[in-house]
């Protein structure tokens, strides 16, 4: 089927302006009676001389978008035509700014990179939660809405772990964007959500440095270089890159998927809380790895075997963040111990989760007895003292002092921004508000009465 002209009608949809003509599909705005959403129609390029990949990726896009439940992080599929006769997809038109507009201005300030990365990580987490992996993440496939939320588009190469993977049957060379593709994708693995984290890391790298982490490969040999060659650390290109940002970026770009951040939610968390990023040797790197390390990895890469993908998210929640609200002005040790016991039970049930220790204090101006910094440090000391008996490694614990005179609202806001899976807290009037309004589970912890 050739690209039809604007003004023609397909199954009752009137085509408006042609927004995009690509090698795989054309995209039109739709005119006519305004529904609840502005719409576009995507028509794959089919027919003599066109690649069969177009058909398959059209089918895959329909399959995956049709299975996703509505969210601001991807377009809503409204209608579709038959693959054999009139293939098309009608979906929501997402208004906003594409990520490539920022890439053009890179290097960006660290805060700006973190803000864009945080929104993108939340969008990835949303689709990963629904067992969808995008696998073709690139700047032109990310649109930022006016609200700041990121939306992912073009699911033509994506994979839904509960539906047949039509692309797997089709291709023998790595499909996807070679600039951002993860090492395991090169090896043919299409089931690992951490592949999207690698692409996210590569995008963050480009935003922070203005350079592509792995260049623009044009041959498979060049593409395969990332199976053993680490990119120059961002600091080597932009000296002002803060250690936390370099840590987050290089953590995402680990060759072995199992060595990356465990979920997009954790990357989002790190980008939203720079002060809480657990810094490793990655944060301090000034140059690429030396010859010895490189030679060892090169040998290993000759028989590169990707790590086993984690089980689908709907079976096992990927390493959640658990928030524990601790009233630091309390000195009630039995209550603190009950809160620790509840936290330990959660840790035992969910091996890899992170614990975020929170406390809410009134805004600095409301108090006069102490300097804001001094007060902040006191609170952190109390939080650390509470968490110490848990015996958790540092990278699984974070501490947050939230300033607000509305503790419940502050906790709710924190839970929403950080994709918190569960809140543990003591009883009280705040608990009622948090429990009824939280976007996640809330457990109210009480100490056992002394008998």
């Amino acid at each position: 089927m050739l690209a039809p002209d604007p003004g023609s009608e397909i199954d009752g949809f009137r085509l408006g302006e042609r927004m995009h003509v690509g090698s795989m599909a054309s995209i039109y705005r739709l005119e006519g009676p305004k529904g609840p959403l502005p719409l576009i129609m995507k028509i794959p390029r089919l027919g003599a001389g066109e690649r069969s990949a177009n058909v398959v990726s059209f089918e895959q896009c329909r399959l995956v978008l049709g299975a996703l439940s509505q969210s601001p992080h991807h377009p809503t599929l409204v209608a579709y035509g038959d693959v054999e006769t009139t293939p098309y997809l009608v979906m929501e038109y997402i208004e906003g700014t594409r990520l490539d507009a920022w890439i053009e201005r890179a290097p960006l300030a660290p805060q700006e990179t973190a803000r864009l990365g945080h929104a993108l990580a939340l969008a990835l987490h949303e689709i990963h939660r629904q067992d969808v992996i995008h696998l073709d993440l690139k700047a032109t496939n990310v649109i930022y809405r006016a609200s700041g939320e990121a939306a992912l588009v073009d699911f033509g190469l994506s994979c839904h772990r509960h539906l047949p993977d039509l692309l797997d049957a089709e291709f023998h060379t790595p499909v996807g964007n070679w600039v951002y593709m993860a090492p395991e994708q090169i090896a043919g693995e299409r089931c690992d959500p951490r592949s999207d984290l690698f692409a996210l890391g590569a995008l963050l790298y480009e935003l922070a440095t203005g350079k592509r982490a792995f260049g623009t490969p044009s041959t498979v040999a060049h593409l395969r270089r990332r199976l053993y060659r680490d990119p120059p650390p961002p600091r080597a290109l932009v000296a002002a890159t803060p250690p936390w940002l370099q840590e987050v970026i290089l953590h995402c770009l680990e060759i072995d998927a199992a060595a990356r951040a465990a979920s997009a939610a954790q990357v989002a968390f790190d980008l939203a809380n720079p002060g809480q990023v657990a810094l490793t040797e990655r944060a301090e790197r000034n140059s690429r790895d030396g010859v010895v390390k490189l030679a060892r990895r090169w040998l290993k890469a000759r028989n590169f075997a990707p790590s086993a993908p984690p089980p689908p998210a709907t079976d096992v929640t990927p390493l959640p963040v658990i928030a524990v609200a601790i009233a630091t002005h309390e000195t009630d040790e039995p209550f603190f111990e009950a809160l620790r016991a509840a936290t330990r039970r959660r840790l035992a049930a969910e091996g890899g989760c992170r614990i975020a220790c929170l406390t809410v204090v009134p805004p600095a101006a409301a108090l006069s007895d102490d300097t804001p910094t001094g007060r902040h440090i006191k609170q952190l000391v109390s939080l650390r003292r509470w968490a110490k008996p848990l015996g958790l490694p540092e990278e699984r614990l974070t501490y947050h002092v939230l300033e607000s005179d509305q503790p419940a609202a502050a906790l709710l806001d924190y839970a929403a921004v950080n994709e918190v899976e569960e809140i543990l807290m003591g009883p009280g009037k705040e608990a009622v508000q948090v429990a009824t309004q939280a976007p996640c589970s809330v457990t109210i912890v009480r100490p056992l009465p002394l008998s």
Binding site: S52, E59, R62, A67, P164, D165, L166, E170
Partner: protein, 201 residues
């Protein structure tokens, strides 16, 4: 059971002959184990003439529009070939131009689909998730068995094909396997057949 199936058949249900049915009416079926033969001997004694006539009249496969229903592989239905891998799936799919083949014989649920040439791809369906089955491809749906599971899940298997929307959904449904196992024991049939229902393997 057979009376119930015969009743459904009179209402238009599609029924195809299975290997145990063929054995029960005396046709030669190879490769059956001792427990299966014991169960078939038991069954044979309990079949009336109307049951035998009904089974004799059953076809090996039924074609309806672009759908094919068959108990074992469509390649050689009368030889009761198991579709246990991509090679057998390819042979089964190549034997027909039907867009979707429904079969059983193998007890686990599986969906094979064709890509660009080469072998069909296997897919492990997730119960309750509808799968669009576009008609330009060929699909081989092994719907699994109602009872006698092999995957440590005691629930029975079935699948629903939504012809209007071209999609298929696989299901697992729990049933009173305890009573079924008791009945097997009470009938003096091999213990293993009863235990299989309880353990799902």
């Amino acid at each position: 059971m057979l009376d119930l199936i015969a009743l459904h058949a009179t209402r238009g249900a599609i029924v195809v002959l299975g290997n145990h049915d063929a054995a029960a009416i005396g046709r030669p079926v190879h490769g059956m184990n001792v427990q299966a033969l014991t169960a078939i001997a038991w069954t044979r004694k309990r079949l009336g003439k109307r049951h035998v006539d009904f089974l004799h009249a059953l076809p090996l496969s039924v074609r309806e529009d672009d759908r094919l229903y068959v108990h074992a592989s469509a390649a050689t239905p009368e030889r009761w070939t198991y579709v246990t891998g991509r090679r057998q799936a390819a042979q089964c799919i190549e034997a027909t131009d039907a867009s979707i083949i429904f079969c059983g014989h193998v007890h686990e649920q599986k969906l094979y689909y064709t890509g660009a040439g080469g072998y069909p791809m296997p897919f492990q369906p997730v119960p309750g998730t509808p799968i669009p089955t576009a008609r330009h491809r060929q699909w081989l749906a092994i719907v699994g068995s109602a009872g006698q599971p092999r995957d440590r899940n005691t629930a029975a298997c079935y699948a629903l094909a939504d012809l209007a929307r071209a999609r298929i959904t696989f299901f697992r449904v729990p049933y009173d396997h305890g009573t079924a196992a008791q009945k097997i024991r009470a009938a003096g049939l091999p213990e293993r057949l009863a235990r299989r229902l309880e353990r799902g393997s």
